[in-house]
């Protein structure tokens, strides 16, 4: 009879694994250098710069009207909010008061973009966990928003609709009807999302208790947006510093005191409902008026420093401009939500398995060009 000696300790060793830059779950070209022991992650070291396109440096040579179109390419899923941030910064610095009509349209467009972004996130999150069907459902509804955008703006993804002083052109005559049709459709489709994924026991077990962010950590690392609201931190720029028409609408800031991946997931699901509420309050009340105020052909900001933040689909997006009174900024810095949210990845994924890292990354919702700029 042979006996196996169970007292000998299994010798294990740390080793490195490269995840990316070409990886289907990295949502782009993020490279993570993982220090793992077996399948347990000991350290995550993000290596950035694979899509660094020197946008901030390019802004130092462009005029303020030209800068707007570069911001589309930062976080391409919330391109409308990025445009708006630059336009608001320039308008505030110049003291331009935009018409009420512009404010309403901007707010509606913001929320439509947020819906499209969250739909894509939901579809891709399902795919990362292993539920491939969600992708088809999400893109079915996303195409409807793309159609609305295409009709009014002329582009499906990189919109470039805002300019300092208003909008490029007025909304299409069909705009209100089609938005209402979409809201009617999506009110029925969102419960479908919940039955398909949110209550799924496998999905829940993959997310609950994974990637816990405490309140203190979220503040210390500068996490913002839905990822921070999943830890119960009130940080919605739309509520705290209202811009455009957000002070005229009633909506709830979704807060969940949990901190794990499933809570961040639920925050985004509930945010979609709030976005629909905001659109419904505004869509019938768009005031008549101009869609643009006249601005000088070459905008020159007065000497000084300006900061404007907006709530993008991923968190607080800020534009910091230092002007020396010339036609282009002396220095321009983007505060992108993805970069700050990425910084906490190492802390929250230690001790989890590699498959959980994919779930954590999905729940933080990264867009890599937004991080690398």
């Amino acid at each position: 009879m042979t006996t196996t000696d169970t007292n000998t300790e299994l010798k294990t060793q740390e080793y490195l694994i490269n995840m990316g830059p070409q990886h289907p779950a990295a949502h782009g070209v993020l490279r993570l250098i993982l220090t793992v022991d077996g399948e347990i992650i000991h350290k995550v070291d993000p290596d950035l710069g694979y899509i660094h396109r020197s946008i901030e440096k390019m802004c130092e040579r462009d005029t303020y009207k030209q800068i707007v179109h570069l911001t589309d390419r930062l976080d391409y899923l919330s391109s409308h909010m990025n445009n708006e941030a630059v336009c608001l910064a320039v308008e505030n610095a110049m003291g331009i008061e935009v018409p009420e009509r512009v404010k309403y349209i901007r707010t509606i467009m913001d929320e439509l973009t947020r819906l499209a972004s969250h739909q894509l996130w939901w579809g891709v999150m399902g795919m990362d966990i292993g539920a491939l069907t969600t992708f088809m459902y999400a893109f079915r509804d996303r195409e409807m928003i793309n159609d609305i955008m295409e009709e009014t703006v002329g582009a499906r993804l990189t919109m470039n609709y805002n300019i300092p002083g208003g909008l490029m052109f007025d909304i299409h005559p069909n705009f209100q009807r089609r938005v209402k049709e979409f809201i009617k459709h999506f009110r029925k489709a969102l419960p479908e999302y919940n039955t398909l994924l949110s209550g799924n026991i496998i999905f829940k077990k993959r997310l609950q208790g994974i990637g816990y962010i405490s309140k203190e950590d979220a503040v210390a690392y500068g996490v913002s947006g839905p990822s921070a609201r999943g830890s119960g931190i009130s940080c919605d720029v739309r509520k705290i510093h209202p811009y455009s028409a957000y002070d005229k609408v009633e909506f709830n800031e979704v807060l969940i005191e949990g901190g794990d991946s499933y809570d961040r997931y639920m925050v985004r699901m509930k945010e979609m409902e709030e976005s629909m509420n905001i659109i419904e309050q505004l869509i019938d009340n768009i005031p008549e008026g101009d869609y643009q105020v006249k601005t000088p052909a070459l905008i020159k900001l007065p000497k000084g420093e300006y900061y404007q933040k907006v709530e993008s689909a991923r968190g607080e997006f800020g534009v910091f401009i230092i002007s020396d009174g010339k036609k282009s900024p002396y220095r321009l810095k983007f505060r992108s939500p993805g970069f700050s949210n990425l910084s906490i990845l190492d802390k929250i994924s230690r001790g989890h398995k590699i498959a959980d890292l994919v779930a954590i990354m999905s729940s933080l919702d990264f867009v890599i060009p937004d991080i690398d700029r």
Binding site: Q22, Y50, K57, L70, F139, R142, E143, T158
Partner: protein, 189 residues
């Protein structure tokens, strides 16, 4: 008759096993039909490598989704690994740091391999052509490109059109004359 036998003896050795059909008497026809069959199979089961670096990747996903549905043409098996892919769709900007990785991916793909450059960035650097210090001005400085798709980003219909053009290109190639595209590639010098 006697003259023909003499000619054959000059061409063939005595110990040659089997029978040879002279050229122009059926042999070429078999090869031509085989070409057609191979190209038909190749062009209808192109497996794309999912290489999305930035904005164009979203439009590539839209192309794969229900409305545009590129599986109608046989592209649905999108692979994240180069070893199982036939065509690499470069969807997005290639930066100086990314270029060696792109070349490595291309070298890992099995022959025959094709490249589609999707969007202005992959064609020429696009909006980042001027004043950018870190962007490669076009993916054809790194690997040879077969089809270019203009747009920033291109519509899903444009990508479908490009893939159909690639199918046409594959169908018109003669496999006996096909060369490895990386041979003689000058890397845009």
């Amino acid at each position: 008759m006697g003259v023909e036998k003499e000619v054959k003896k000059e061409v063939l050795k005595d110990d040659f096993p089997g029978q040879v059909i002279p050229a122009g008497n059926g042999g070429n026809i078999v090869v031509g039909v085989l070409d057609k069959i191979i190209n038909w199979g190749r062009s209808n089961s192109l497996w794309p490598l999912y290489f999305g670096t930035s904005c164009c990747a979203i439009e590539m996903m839209q192309t794969g989704a229900a409305r545009h549905d590129w599986s109608r043409f046989g592209f649905e098996v999108a692979r994240p690994t180069p070893r199982q892919a036939d065509v690499i769709v470069i969807a997005g900007t290639i930066t100086n740091k990314m270029a060696p990785a792109l070349r490595k991916l291309y070298d890992q793909m099995a022959e025959p391999k094709y490249v589609v450059a999707m969007g202005a960035c992959a064609i020429s650097g696009g909006p980042f052509y001027y004043n950018s210090y870190s962007v490669v001005r076009g993916a054809d400085h790194v690997i040879p490109v077969d089809v270019y798709v203009p747009g920033c980003p291109p519509r899903p219909e444009s990508l479908l059109d490009a893939m159909i053009k690639l199918q046409k290109k594959i169908r018109s190639t003669k496999n006996s004359e096909r060369v490895n595209p990386i041979e003689g590639f000058d890397e845009g010098k």
